[in-house]
Each structure stands twice: as structure tokens, then as C-alpha cells.
Amino acid sequence: MSTDSQQNAHHSPVLEFKSSTFSVPVLVLSSNDAIIIEQQLQEKIHLAPEFFKNSPLVFDLQELNKHDLDIDVTELINIIRSLGLLPIGIRGGGAQQNQQALELGVPIHSGHSVALSSGTQKPQPPEPEAAPEPQIVAEAATLITHPVRSGQRIYASGDLIILAQVSAGAEIMAEGNIHVYGSLRGRALAGVQGNTEARIFCSDLQAELISIAGNYKISEDLNDAVPNQRVQIYLQNHALVIKDI
């Protein structure tokens, strides 16, 4: 390389840091049994293999630590990776768990009370009963005003509200409820993280597939649904119920 181009490289910046926000699925664990975790995770992935393929993931240990359930973070990370997911963060872990995660190249996400940065922090025993009230933070709803076209996918970590149509071949997913005020012709999956209380509301049901917390119906089973009729879909005894509104 000539000195000229080296100087150029010094003068014109070739990179800059920008801040941006991403929506990433968070895996909240409520058991420390690695076998069950692996099994259930696998089942979830089977429901939407394309969506989960190489998907980034943050895992959250707050629930476990609240109940003093210890988990081997190294093993957990290995399970997650072996299922084709890419863990990009640990949340709510203890100091030692965070350290284990860091060693495997998984950064620590703060935002939860237990999350501590390793190193300078003194090893602090988890405070027993003085733990803060479990705070219920409502995830903001995602609002989409333009048509969702064939081949597009939308994922919302809270509720998803769509004011336009969802075309055949499009896929909309939400951890919470889904509202569609145009024609719903694509796939709609509500409660994708297992929320069985999630519902789908739509003004014109012509979907290819609807699913709530993994219980699904395909278009063939929706023959009774009348187009141009407002309906809601919810889960009752592990079966999807479609009701007029």
C-alpha cells in the first residue's frame, strides 16, 4: 500500500458508530432442567423452523434466580446453539453465570435487577426476600400501516396491529395479540412465545394459517369462516375457537 492511500485512509473515515434498536426474541426460563428445556425449545422451533433458523436470542434467567434455581449456563448456551439459534445475550444472570456466558462470547444485557457486570463488582449473594416486586412492563404494540406483502415477515415482541391487508404468503408473528383491520390472507401467529391468552382479531379472515401459542389451523380447516366478517380467534382447551365479534 502506498503512503498516499494510507494518508487517505486516515483522513476519510471509513466507519462510524450508530445506535439502533432491534427486536430480538427473549427466552425466559422457568425451569433449570436442561433436558426439558431442550425438548420444549425443539418443539417451539418445529412450529416455525424458518423463523428460528439462525435467529438471534437473548436468554433470561431472572425467574430462575428468583427461585434460587441454578442452571449451568455453559450447558444452556450449548443447547441453544445446537438447535441452530444464536445466543447474543444473557439477562438477569448472577455474577458467576454472567462470567460463564462471557467466556463463551455471549455478552451481558442489563435492564434487570440481578444483572451485574462482572469484574469490579463484589460477588454479591442474591438478596433473598427483598427482591423487587415483579414489574409488569407492557411491551409497546407494533403498528403497521402499509400492506404486508407476500414474502414479508413481521415480528412483534408485544401486540401487533395492522391497519392494512396481509397478503397470501406473508407471515405476521407476535408474542401478544394480533389485530388485522384489512384482509388477512397470509399466516398469523399470536402468542409465539407461548402466551395462551393471546388472541387474533381480524375483519376479514382468509388466512393460510392461524396459530396461537403453537396451536394452529390451516386454511383447509377454516372453511366455515365467512369472509368479510369480523372474528376473533382464541384458545380454549388447546383448541382454536373462531367467533364472530
Binding site: H146, P147, V148, R149, S150, G151, Q152, A164, Q165, S167, A168, G169, A170, G182, S183, R185
Partner: protein
């Protein structure tokens, strides 16, 4: 300010090149200096439809590679001196196009031309991506059948998420629907989707309906854009499309069945 129009569809064989030729000629005949670019590198067709295949010396890829200047490669149309054609290379493939190279050529054309029409190849791969990436307006060419409509829908999704305007958060590309090869008789028999059906699925502004017509094939064979055949229904339909695009308000024609002799005599529907 120059506007870049992409003529695209996703599906092949729906009439993109015919449409590109017709609207480029239509705009040029209205007095706007227009360039039409063939992005279908490797499957060059536009020069045939425009009747300039025997005058191709340099092509799009030559200009991108710096082997020729833009002025050397642009071919002026025989019938309209406001219209220029930039042919595709037949000996290369789509990988010869680069985003940077295409951007540079379009920037250069923008200085000189009012409208730049990009004739997209079929598919959603590199050629089609580059044809739409820099666009300001998109003409979505759709046939009234389900697979074409779905592919158009897919293409609309790509326009709204992968174009330069989308990436830079500018005002989105203006999308127009062009329904081609429409046959009211077959719609009536239930063999074809109707205008309303397509509109309902795509919910898009309808710029025009081009009827299925022998004149289109004749025009292609003779290398004159069909819009120049003013007697033909397809030619008139394209003229309407141009007028509407330029802001005129014209009622849609060719949507209803042609009345036969009896229909005309008795005037009933």
C-alpha cells in the same frame, strides 16, 4: 427533476418489455426526453421490440465497465428523437451489473433526461433488484391470473423494503398497477380474474388495463412499440396509461366485453 420508472412484475412473460417500450415511446412522444434501459443482461429483448437490434454497438455492461461512454452506447430511436435506448449485453449475465455501476449511469442519465424507464428482468434476483433499487415510480405489470398476482405482491414487498428509498427512509416508491393481457370475455366465463379481483388482492392504484390483443404480437414482430399503432385497442390503452401517469384524468376502457353486432343493435348488456 428526472424520474426513474421501473417496469417490473416478478413473473416472466407478462409484458414487461412490451410495456417498457410502449411507455418510453409514449413519454417521448409527449415531448419528454426519455431513456429506456434493458436490465435483462443475457436475455436481451428490448432492442428487438424497439426495432433497433441492428444498431447495437455498445451496451449497458460496456458502459458500467468503462469500455464505452454513455453517449456511445445510447441508441436514438428512428421515429422519435426524444427517445434513447440503452441495450443489455447478450454475452454476459446479471453478475456483470453492480449497484455502484448502475447508480453511476442513472445519475449521469438524470442530468440529461426527464424520464428513465428501467425494463426489469423476471425474478427477484440481482437483475430485478438493481432495476428497481433506484426507482422513483414502479409500474407493476400483472396478468389477471393468480400466480402473476402473487408474484406482483411479492415484488411490491421488495419495493417497499429493499429499494434505495426504503433503505434511506425517503418517501416510498410510487406504485402503479398495470393489468395486461386482459380479456373481458374470459373474465365473464370465469377463466380469468377480473379487475376488481386483482385490485382487491393487491390494493394498488390502477393505472391502466391493456387488453389481450393481436396488435401486441404484430408490433413486437415488426419492432415498433405498440403505442404507435393508434388504431389498436392495446395502443390506445397504453396512450391512456401515459396520459394518466402524467396527471390526466381518463376513464378506464377495455374492461367491459366488446359488444357484438347483436349487442350493438339491441344495446342491451
Amino acid at each position: 427533476m428526472a424520474r426513474i420508472i421501473v417496469v417490473t412484475s416478478g413473473k416472466g412473460g407478462v409484458g414487461k418489455t412490451t410495456t417498457s417500450a410502449a411507455i418510453a415511446m409514449g413519454l417521448a412522444k409527449k415531448g419528454h426526453k426519455t431513456a429506456v434501459i434493458d436490465f435483462d443482461v443475457g436475455l436481451r429483448n428490448l432492442d428487438l421490440i424497439m426495432g433497433c437490434e441492428r444498431r447495437v454497438v455498445y451496451d449497458f455492461v460496456n458502459v458500467i465497465n468503462g469500455e464505452a461512454t454513455l453517449n456511445q452506447a445510447l441508441i436514438r430511436d428512428k421515429t422519435c428523437n426524444q427517445l434513447y435506448i440503452l441495450p443489455a449485453s447478450q454475452t454476459r449475465d446479471k453478475d456483470a451489473l453492480s449497484q455502484e455501476g448502475v447508480g453511476k449511469i442513472l445519475d449521469e442519465l438524470k442530468k440529461d433526461f426527464k424520464y428513465i424507464v428501467c425494463d426489469s428482468p423476471a425474478g427477484i434476483e440481482k437483475g430485478a433488484h438493481l432495476a428497481m433499487y433506484f426507482a422513483d415510480d414502479a409500474f407493476i405489470v400483472t396478468n389477471p391470473e393468480v400466480s402473476s398476482v402473487r408474484d406482483s405482491d411479492r415484488m411490491l414487498g421488495i419495493l417497499s423494503s429493499k429499494s434505495r428509498r426504503a433503505e434511506q427512509n425517503d418517501e416510498p416508491i410510487k406504485e402503479y398497477l398495470l393489468l395486461t393481457r386482459y380479456s373481458p370475455e374470459r373474465v365473464k366465463l370465469g377463466e380469468m380474474l377480473s379487475v376488481d379481483d386483482v385490485q382487491e388482492i393487491l390494493s394498488l392504484h390502477l393505472l391502466g388495463v391493456i387488453p389481450e390483443s393481436k396488435s401486441v404480437l404484430n408490433a413486437s414482430n415488426s419492432g415498433t412499440p405498440v403505442i404507435l399503432d393508434e388504431k389498436s385497442d392495446a395502443g390506445q390503452a397504453y396512450a391512456d396509461v401515459i396520459a394518466r401517469y402524467l396527471g390526466e384524468d381518463r376513464p378506464h376502457r377495455f374492461i367491459d366485453e366488446k359488444k357484438g353486432l347483436f349487442g350493438k343493435l339491441f344495446g342491451g348488456k
